[in-house]
Amino acid sequence: MGEALTIDSTLRCDVLVIGAGGVGLRAATQIGEHRPGTRIIALTKAFSPQKSHTTTAQGGMAAVDPKDPVDRPIFHMFDTWKGSDCSADQNVVKKVCDMGWEEMVWLERHGMHFSRTEEGRIAKRPFGGHMLNFGETKAFRACYEADRTGKGIMDTVWAECLKYGVNFIGQCIATEILFKDGHCIGTIIFRFPEGKFLAILAKATIIATGGKTKMYLVSSNCRGNTGDGLALALNAGLPVMDLEAVQFHPTGMVGPGILASEALRGEGAILRNKDEEPFMERYAPTAKDLAPRDLISRAIIQEIREGRGLFHEGHNAHHVWLDLRHLPKEVHEKKIQEVCSFFKRFVGVDPEKDLCPVTPTAHYQMGGIPTNEFGEVQGDTQGIVPGLFACGEVAAASLHGLNRLGTNSLLELITMGRVTGERVIEYLKDAKEPEALSPGAPHMVFDQFSTYLHAQGKEKYAQIRDTLRNLMMEKVGIFRTEKPLQEAIEELRELKERATHIPLAATSLRANQDLWQLWELNNLITVSMVIAQGALARKESRGAHFREDYPKRSDEFNYHTLVYMPQFNEVSFGKRPIDMSIFEAKGEHFELFDYIEREY
């Protein structure tokens, strides 16, 4: 590997979407539909947008039809606020809940294959934390396509993009955001097949790279969910927000951690311990198995700690049972067909006859790149970064605060995707074509890749990856305390250093999986450091962030955590206030949008 790394060629477009998942392409379709002729490039790490992680989402999308006789958008807003443990931003909560139904109709009219009621309308099912009359009883609010709702969304927005001539570039990673005079002007990408760097210059750039839980031993995320977008922002000196809030989904399949949708419990499945006791009745007497995910995940670990869990020898893991045996055959075959087949194939149990072994799995990041309610990226609490937008799981607007309700993520994708698309259309009115990059200008990514390609030493990628995953699971997982968090930060420093001594077995740039994964590993370590730092700083328990040494929520921490880390471990903190606009508007039921008690 002697040759110098260079930019092979430059592409230009009006809008660059980094990450062609549900939200990125919902934004792209909004632009394609309402501003015909816009040149849009959408990047994906996968072969096709259809292979994005969105496609694995199962259960549904919460949305209240304004004409619904029993449900109301304000109940949904309340559930989202309460579910977030009073840390979501109410301007975003209101906007998203108000738009929800309109977006269901948009998806349906653009070809999504929703499951239907006998009357031919979009079918709905209950989901955790979604209730009628401010917490009284479960609400039928999640619109779904069997147990492949994410695939339904993905297929719809991907196909729509084809209609509008969106240019997909697959098998690539965005490696550095480009700026000129404080404006974002695009990104440098690295293509897997040819091993070449390309510059993509754009008037507007949308970061939509999704989530990142691959730093955890048990994770429901796909192979490529390695925090690339967050690392991209951090390396550019931008802040990230609330990363300490990591959602562990209560029911991952024992073994690989594949998701067993909350839809199963929505359809009536029950969690049981080793005595087959339906233990959630003790932890959440009203909501029971449909309590929010953070509560159920902690309850499961509690059961296991107190000796009421089970142990799976094959996968060397503790677990509890999910009981689906009493559900009608029709439900097994039609409504939860995919998940049942996963249990049969991957775990070797038949949910119609057997109890299914489940354990919490790292699933979702509530935090992300801070944006305002229009998807514009905030460089600091003062202002936005012109030309740079972010939406979906990689962003924090924040709809979820420190805990997300099931089905609100897919809802966020289509609502915030559209909102961001609309904002980009506005922005394009006065946006100028970026000037060409000066040839031979230094780029951070070339230093990064040179380090990887010239690394000497005896460290092994797999060892560092596995150490990271175990470390994050044990010390920065569901339950956290000060000392282990401090240890984790020290160990992450060591891992970062060790990762510079992993020699590559082959240094070709072309289709080099080893090189690609090393870049991903570095992103994972970077983002893990921010999670651990945020978790150490937040000395309270709120939503998915639980400190055993500070088990109560504290008003002192009624804010969002901002973390900057322009260089590894050069950490500084900031705060963003929580938006309380529903409460402050003093409208109907405003008192419920104060910092309320959270019981289910």
């Binding site: 653009h110 239907r116 690989p256 999986q513």
Partner: protein, 236 residues
């Protein structure tokens, strides 16, 4: 007690830098409940980091990890070691890349190119029917949806197109043809004439020889050939 197997993977390798192709054998001691993606990862970790193989979600929902094992196209994430030993009655497995697109390296093929076939089938609603008078969703009876909802489960893994005896010539392939069928059967699509033109084009449904390999290899167990038959019959 945990059952463990000694298996040999003979992998067809390709190096895009030297353009060389060769077979390489890896012997692995693997627990029966591991999936082939886990075994490939273990080979990367313990023996050979240069071996490239595709995957993404690793639970049969994205269709990125299609490979050919002992002649059968399948998803590497779905094949458990113990099931493979039982199904193929051997401890030796020959792994080849899918034949539907150019090989990039080893087991990774350029599925991005294969997707052109699906794009030609226009998987969107070309011309949706007018909105419901109430301004909300179009009504579709569950019975109507049931006629084609199986076909909507397709994840475009191209296992069917690899197995298909016709899709290496001029046929767009079973999955792409089925994508067009979905919209032919979808009551919201009004551009039926354009869809029929796609269906009966030279490269489409009548290039299918009804060998039904698609239905037998489909990892999602979709009866693909049923939907192709409906197309040939003109019943939708």
């Amino acid at each position: 007690m945990l059952e463990s197997y000694t298996i040999t993977l003979e992998v067809k390798r390709y190096d895009p830098d030297t353009k060389l192709t060769w077979m390489q054998a890896y012997q692995v001691e693997a627990s029966g409940i591991l999936r082939f993606v886990d075994v490939l990862r273990e080979i990367n970790d313990e023996q050979d980091p240069t071996l490239a193989w595709p995957s993404s979600c690793e639970h049969a929902q994205c269709g990125s990890c299609g490979i050919i094992v002992n002649g059968k196209p399948l998803l590497a994430c779905e094949l458990l070691v113990k099931d493979a030993v039982e199904q193929f009655r051997t401890h030796k497995f020959r792994l080849r890349p899918l034949t539907i697109a150019p090989v990039l390296r080893d087991l990774v093929v350029d599925l991005e190119k294969a997707y052109d076939r699906v794009h030609k089938a226009k998987p969107y609603l070309i011309k949706p029917t007018s909105p419901h008078p109430d301004g909300d969703e179009y009504r579709i009876a569950p019975k109507t949806l049931e006629m084609y909802s199986e076909a909507t489960r397709c994840i475009n893994c191209f296992c069917c197109a690899t197995a298909c005896i016709s899709s290496h010539h001029h046929f767009l392939g079973p999955n792409a043809t089925m994508a067009n069928m979905v919209r032919l059967m979808d009551p919201r699509e009004t551009a039926k004439k354009e869809r029929m033109d796609i269906l009966y084009r030279e490269n489409n449904v009548y290039r299918c020889h009804t060998a039904r390999a698609c239905s037998f290899v489909c990892p999602k167990e979709i009866d693909v050939s049923h939907f192709l038959a409906l197309g040939k019959e003109g019943r939708f």
